[in-house]
């Protein structure tokens, strides 16, 4: 576009940022790799915060009649723990890895909309900080992560208003990211990279993005309705005025169940990359695992009411949703066999990424099976709101998503930074993580079936839960200690800086075809793809082609000049208006000037968008 229209006047509102390094280099970057790193780093920071909240909760429950937290603090901590881990840890870690590796794995130079990508990150960051600012402004959300009405509409204070607006802001980031990834995968593939040559991680990223695309607007509406109920006296969920609290549950879980797959599918994709690499075999049943992923994405829309069996939807509805819920276990089961089949007969190397991946498969099976047990309606009535549910979703989200993501972190670390994380400490991290996880959440199955209710800040003596709860707390601290091992591993490995090489694992996909870390333009020449796992066949040849030189990156001496998108201030600026407007809504009844704050925030974002539009994506050089 720049060549043909060079004669047109091109003025931006601000001088173009030029810093490539330093703080401004990061803040104005539109490079998908830097944005991916920022996503992951921010999410790992929030993982620490959410983990500290979990430790406080576990300390409180370590013995009966605990006095570590008050009931009110406990409510805020478990709500914020859930919100943090879901919206500020698992989702952004998945998005961060998707950001870094989608373009590399499909042979592109960046995502389809680099500035929109930066905007997603900054909105995510300000949304997370906004949510946490509630602790200093009268109390954090305290109505549970799924904010059931009418409790969420009637809780005093601003906590649940922060919930409605904080998640709304984070939703903007997710929606923008989803559109970006979908278009990137559909439209930015290297020549020859047909859909059925895409790595499984890319497929799962695409299914995840489609789920986000269609699920985020539903929760946006529910959150707007909650916001109007709380801040502007609307009656959406007010039973006294004919409102239906049940509507909240439907809208929430219409989003909430796809959300479960939004969190797990990226991890499934990561594991589907790691297992073939370390078994030195192609993924077993590529078509089956891809179709199973797509089937999960579609069927995920037909199971939401299994979260609501206990409200009494009636026998017909309960039976239908019980059946769909059991049925969705089928494509998930297919994937398990894909992974087992990949390992079967493979030349297996037990490196840390593989340990985490195998841990993922094992723990996810347990979480999946306890999930199917909720599909049995009478059984579910017994389990609802007990620690059995807490055990289940931690097996799929911690044992599943987090294990898969940490596998990905160990697997891709050398690509991102050029040096490998130490194997010894990595394995120690895995085993502590694995043991701590099973101690903490495995025992919750038992206390749950014994009737210990979730979301209750204490329990009396003599219920028979004391010992198991104490062990659970020990498990939680084991997990925390394993994270310390992880951090120490980073520090030590960084000091050693043993060069990883471009392809340390003898891997299969295109991201390993470029240098470690990749150059800003990713590939010197865009690869022509001939095979699934193209990089493997480039190295070893295939029935159709001879081994060919690997396309490296990073060399300065490449001949053609590559136009890359230029850095910009505006994505970051545009994000700042959203929390400002949100504060205006929160303090609407407290501040007489609140409408000005709302208007000012929105105007700021609008003006930033104007600057964004007036600025060409790639600066003239």
């Amino acid at each position: 576009m720049a060549t043909a229209t060079g004669s047109l006047p091109r003025r931006g509102l601000l001088a173009r940022p030029t810093a490539k390094t330093g703080v401004w280099g990061w803040m104005t970057t539109v490079d998908h790799k830097k944005i991916g790193i920022m996503y992951c780093a921010t999410a790992l920071f929030f993982f620490g915060v959410g983990g500290l909240e979990a430790l406080a909760i576990r300390l409180q429950l370590a013995q009966p009649n605990g006095e570590v937290l008050t009931a009110s603090q406990y409510n805020q901590f478990f709500t914020m723990h859930g919100l943090t881990m879901i919206f500020l840890v698992v989702m952004p870690l998945g998005v961060g890895l998707m950001n870094y590796f989608i373009p590399l794995m499909i042979g592109a130079r960046d995502v389809a909309f680099p500035r929109l990508n930066a905007f997603s990150y900054w909105v995510f960051l300000v949304g997370g900080l906004f949510l946490y600012s509630s602790f200093f402004l009268g109390g954090a959300p305290d109505g549970g992560w799924f904010g059931y009405a009418p409790l969420s509409t009637s809780l005093p204070g601003h906590g649940m208003t922060f919930y409605s607006l904080g998640l709304q802001i984070l939703g903007v980031a997710s929606l923008a990211g989803a559109v970006n990834f979908i278009i990137t995968i559909i439209n930015m593939r290297a020549p020859g990279m047909t859909f059925f040559k895409l790595p499984v991680f890319i497929w799962m990223s695409m299914v995840t993005s489609f789920l986000l695309l269609f699920a985020m607007p539903v929760i946006a509406v529910a959150l707007f309705q909650l916001m109007f109920d709380r801040a502007f006296e609307a009656n959406f969920f007010n039973p006294a005025a004919g409102g239906e609290p049940l509507l909240w549950q439907h809208l929430f879980w219409l989003f909430g169940h796809p959300e479960v797959y939004i969190m797990i599918l990226p991890a499934m994709g990561i594991v589907s990359e790691i297992l073939p690499t370390f078994a030195r075999k192609p993924i077993f049943g590529y078509a089956a695992i891809v179709f199973a992923g797509a089937a999960i994405g579609i069927m995920g829309w037909g199971v939401w009411a299994h979260h609501m069996f206990a409200v009494g939807l009636g026998p017909v509805a309960n039976s239908v949703f019980a059946a769909t819920t059991m049925f969705i276990a089928v494509p998930t089961g297919v994937k398990i066999f894909n992974w087992l089949g990949t390992l079967w007969g493979g030349d297996i190397r037990f490196k840390t990424p593989l340990l985490f991946s195998v841990g993922f498969v094992a723990l996810f099976i347990i979480g999946g099976l306890s999930g199917v047990s909720h599909a049995i309606v009478p059984h579910d009535a017994q389990q609802t709101d007990t620690y059995y549910i807490v055990a289940h979703f931690h097996y799929v989200l911690f044992g599943g998503a987090i294990f898969g993501i940490f596998g990905g972190i160990y697997y891709w670390w050398p690509k991102v930074f050029g040096w490998t994380l130490g194997e010894g400490l990595g394995k120690l991290h895995f085993w502590l993580f694995f043991i701590g996880m099973n101690l903490t959440f495995g025992l919750m199955h038992i206390v749950g079936l014994q009737g210990q209710p979730r979301r209750t800040y204490t329990y009396p003596e003599g219920m028979g839960w004391d010992f198991l709860n104490f062990i659970e707390t020990i498990g939680a601290f084991t997990i925390a200690f394993s994270m310390v091992v992880f951090l120490v591993n980073i520090v030590i490995s960084k000091a050693k800086r043993e060069a990883a090489g471009d392809d340390p694992w003898d891997a299969r996909t295109l991201e390993w075809a470029t240098s470690s870390p990749p150059p800003e333009h990713n590939f010197d020449t865009i690869p022509q793809v001939h095979e699934r796992d193209d990089f493997w066949y480039r190295k070893y040849g295939s029935p159709h082609e001879q081994p060919q030189p690997v396309i490296a990156g990073g060399a300065d001496g490449h001949e053609e000049h590559i136009h890359l998108p230029s850095p910009s201030y505006f994505p970051m600026f545009a994000s700042f208006g959203l929390p400002v407007a949100a504060y205006g809504v929160i303090f609407f009844s407290d501040w007489s000037f609140a409408p000005l704050v709302i208007g000012g925030g929105l105007l700021w974002t609008l003006l930033s968008l104007v600057g964004w539009v007036l600025e060409p994506g790639t600066a003239d050089e």
Binding site: M1, I186, L247, W301
Partner: protein, 116 residues
């Protein structure tokens, strides 16, 4: 979109050449206007029962919806990939919200605790 190679003024990309002429647009708008007039007119005909009226109104709105989509949004002429996004959204919305409405309206009566 191949604007980079040329500096000629009125380059029209191949998809857009299939777009209808302004006259065709005006004709579509005329039909839309007539349908709207019919909608409002039948709203005032008391002889039509509520359920028949509802069916007729929804049918007419559907025709308008499809015409705007096909002609003004060019779905009739453009790549089918575009309409797939849109139709997925519409079908999904009908499916899930149809189910939610069915769950509410087959339950019979408002929620417990709502006095009527």
């Amino acid at each position: 979109m191949s604007d980079a190679q040329t500096s000629m003024e009125h380059v029209v990309d191949p998809h857009m050449q299939d777009h209808p002429s302004p006259r065709k647009y005006v004709n579509v708008a005329l039909i839309l206007a007539i349908i709207t007039a019919i909608e409002v007119a039948i709203y005032y005909v008391t002889a039509i029962s509520a359920s028949v009226l509802t069916a007729m109104l929804i049918g007419l709105a559907f025709i308008k919806f499809v015409m705007v989509g096909l002609y003004f949004m060019h779905l009739k002429f453009d790549s089918h990939t575009f309409r797939r996004f849109f139709i997925t959204g519409i079908v999904l919305a009908f499916f899930v919200f149809g189910a939610v409405m069915a769950l509410f309206f087959t339950r019979g009566g408002p929620a417990p605790g709502f006095g009527s």
